[in-house]
């Protein structure tokens, strides 16, 4: 490396040093520590004690751990496909001009800005068995609504329904993607006699598929981070029916004070997210089309 080049590198590093310092102190250091903690017994008030792979071995036989994985997977299996389909549908409907369309776009987007605690409060009230708006509306058509948050099967369903209220961000991204589909493609398809549904399946979906892939991956990461809503609304219950992975991690670390075990949970969480992201990429390879520019 010449001196000029070394000097330039130094200048560059100086410019990015705010980020670099934060990256080392608050990202690399905690990651390094958590590798070490995950191999120790660390009750927070005493120094960590080396136990090797014990925490990981304990995980395998921990019913609560498996329960939270199943719960999180069930939640993801419903909320991601439903949310993606709904966001796409809303985006295609919103893909038109006019004041009313803009107003509805705002109505769909605003819920994503609501602080998560407030969102939880609003939906506690929405799902209230006797006085909530949802059971009130169901009552109008003669259905006796369930006691949503107090029954194991319905509680998870309630959280999935709630998650659909927050698809505004994805819908707006899809809308931008839809507007980027070249109209020449639609015209060509129309000349070939392809109908409305055919154009959506054979033109729209392939063209915006990279955007869909990106959103699905973001949604997978978000699912493994679900915490505040069940923490506030159901405390993981009834039973452990809405006990999510991140809640167990939080409880292990800050309620039971088992930093070692919590760190092992965090590493397994990272591996699960990486695995699911890689899986999504592999499955999608046949279905995602990247435009050659």
């Amino acid at each position: 490396m010449s001196t000029g080049e070394a000097r330039r590198t130094l200048i560059g590093l100086c410019w990015v040093s705010p980020w670099l310092a934060g990256f080392l102190a608050f990202l690399m250091l905690p990651i390094g520590l958590s590798v070490w903690y995950s191999l120790t017994d660390y009750p927070l008030l005493e120094p960590p004690l080396w136990v090797g792979a014990d925490n990981y071995r304990r995980l395998l036989h921990d019913d609560v751990f498996w329960r939270t994985i199943v719960n999180t997977l069930v939640y993801a299996a419903f909320s991601i496909p439903l949310g993606t389909a709904l966001a796409l549908w809303i985006a295609t409907l919103l893909n038109r001009r006019g004041r009313l369309a803009m107003l509805i776009r705002a109505a769909v987007y605003l819920p994503t800005l609501s602080p998560i605690v407030a969102t939880a409060m609003i939906w506690l009230w929405m799902f209230n068995a006797e006085h909530g708006l949802i059971n009130g509306l169901l009552g109008l058509v003669g259905i006796r609504g369930p006691n949503w948050l107090k029954e194991p099967t319905w509680a998870m369903g309630a959280l999935v329904i709630m998650s659909l209220w927050s698809v505004g961000q994805a819908a707006i991204v899809y809308l931008a993607a839809l507007r980027g589909v070249p109209s020449s493609l639609y015209e060509a398809a129309e000349m070939d006699g392809v109908g409305r549904a055919g154009r959506f399946v054979h033109v729209t979906l392939p063209t915006i598929s990279p955007v869909i892939l990106f959103n699905v991956i973001v949604a997978i990461i978000v699912c493994w981070q679900v915490f505040a809503v069940p923490y506030i609304m159901t405390q993981g219950g009834p039973g452990r029916s809405t006990y999510f992975y991140t809640m167990y991690l939080y409880d292990s670390a800050f309620v039971y004070g088992q930093m070692g075990y919590a760190s092992a949970l965090a590493w397994i969480q990272t591996l699960i997210i990486l695995f699911l992201t890689a899986l999504t990429f592999m499955v999608s390879r046949r279905h995602v089309w990247y435009r050659v520019s």
Partner: protein, 287 residues
């Protein structure tokens, strides 16, 4: 035939859109309407609107006054805490990210693109994975039970991967000839940054400020972990405390408190709508 078919289709689409709009607006609308009712009325459940409507203004005043001056949950204090933490965090994030993005966009150096890749990858790491070891780091620093964990890391662009990305993209749309001209006038990198890049990147900085404001204002998990005293609670924690305190908080008051927490975000967003659209449209995010 085909034209008629499409008008019927268009009408169905409009009906579906309106139903969607109403459904998405309903929870927030119902929150506000509930906050205008008396406690008995919320449990009577016969009407969505407060009845009689003429009593609503007086009821609103009583409900919001009751929330604001609650003897246990000190909302005025929590509002000040939230403003303090959010403000400090925003300023730090904007300074750190705008400087860092300059290094990635305007200085040529070895390893730059590799390190930028690291920025992008680090965006994928969830906070939940870091929270246990971060707690230990902050404890060693003596920060637990202070506001520091909530704003100080932002001064080192912690959690700012997306902001750096956005600003770098924006800087790259600023013509390099402007840099050259400034350099001929004797400007250093710092001079170019201060006098050319920063003044031109106001829209993108506005977007960063807005995103970060909502993220910090809305955050629940980090304050829950790092704050220990009730006096330091942010509005988000205060709202949770209000709901979970002994006895049942009446729904009308809980919805009034929720409205108080949601309103600032919505107001800021509506006021900055135009700036946001300009910022996103010009940042090169949409190609």
């Amino acid at each position: 035939m085909s034209a008629q078919h499409s008008t019927v289709g268009a009408r169905i689409a409009w009906v579906a859109l309106i139903v969607i709009g109403v459904a998405y607006a309903a929870p927030l609308g119902w929150m506000v309407l509930t906050s205008a009712k008396s406690a008995e009325q919320t449990l009577a459940g016969s009407s969505v609107l407060p009845t009689p409507l003429a009593d609503a203004p007086g009821q609103i005043a009583r409900n919001y006054a009751a929330v604001w001056s609650d003897p246990v949950v000190d909302f005025p204090l929590y509002l000040r805490n939230s403003l303090w933490v959010t403000g400090l965090s925003m300023v730090g994030m904007m300074i750190a990210c705008s400087i860092t993005a300059y290094g990635f966009a305007r200085v040529r150096w070895r390893g730059r693109d590799t390190l930028f890749g690291v920025v992008l990858v680090s965006m994928m790491i969830p906070f939940a994975v870091l929270m246990a070891p971060l707690y230990v780091v902050f404890r060693e620093l003596g920060w637990i039970g202070t506001f520091l964990p909530l704003w100080a890391p932002a001064w080192l662009a912690f959690g700012g991967g997306f902001n750096i990305f956005l600003l770098r993209q924006f800087y790259r749309t600023i013509p390099a000839e402007l840099d050259e001209a400034a350099r001929l006038d004797g400007c250093s990198h710092w001079g170019i940054f201060r006098h050319v890049i920063l003044p031109l990147s106001r829209p993108a900085l506005g977007v960063v400020a807005l995103f970060h404001f909502t993220a910090v204002w809305n955050d629940f998990l980090a304050p829950l972990i790092f704050l220990t005293h009730r006096d330091q609670f942010t509005l988000a924690l205060g709202l949770h405390l209000y709901q979970s305190q002994a006895g049942n908080t009446p729904w009308n008051l809980l919805m009034a408190a929720s409205t108080l927490v949601v309103a600032p975000v919505l107001v800021v967003f509506v006021l900055t709508q135009g700036m946001l659209q300009e910022g996103i449209a010009t940042s090169g995010l949409k190609e």
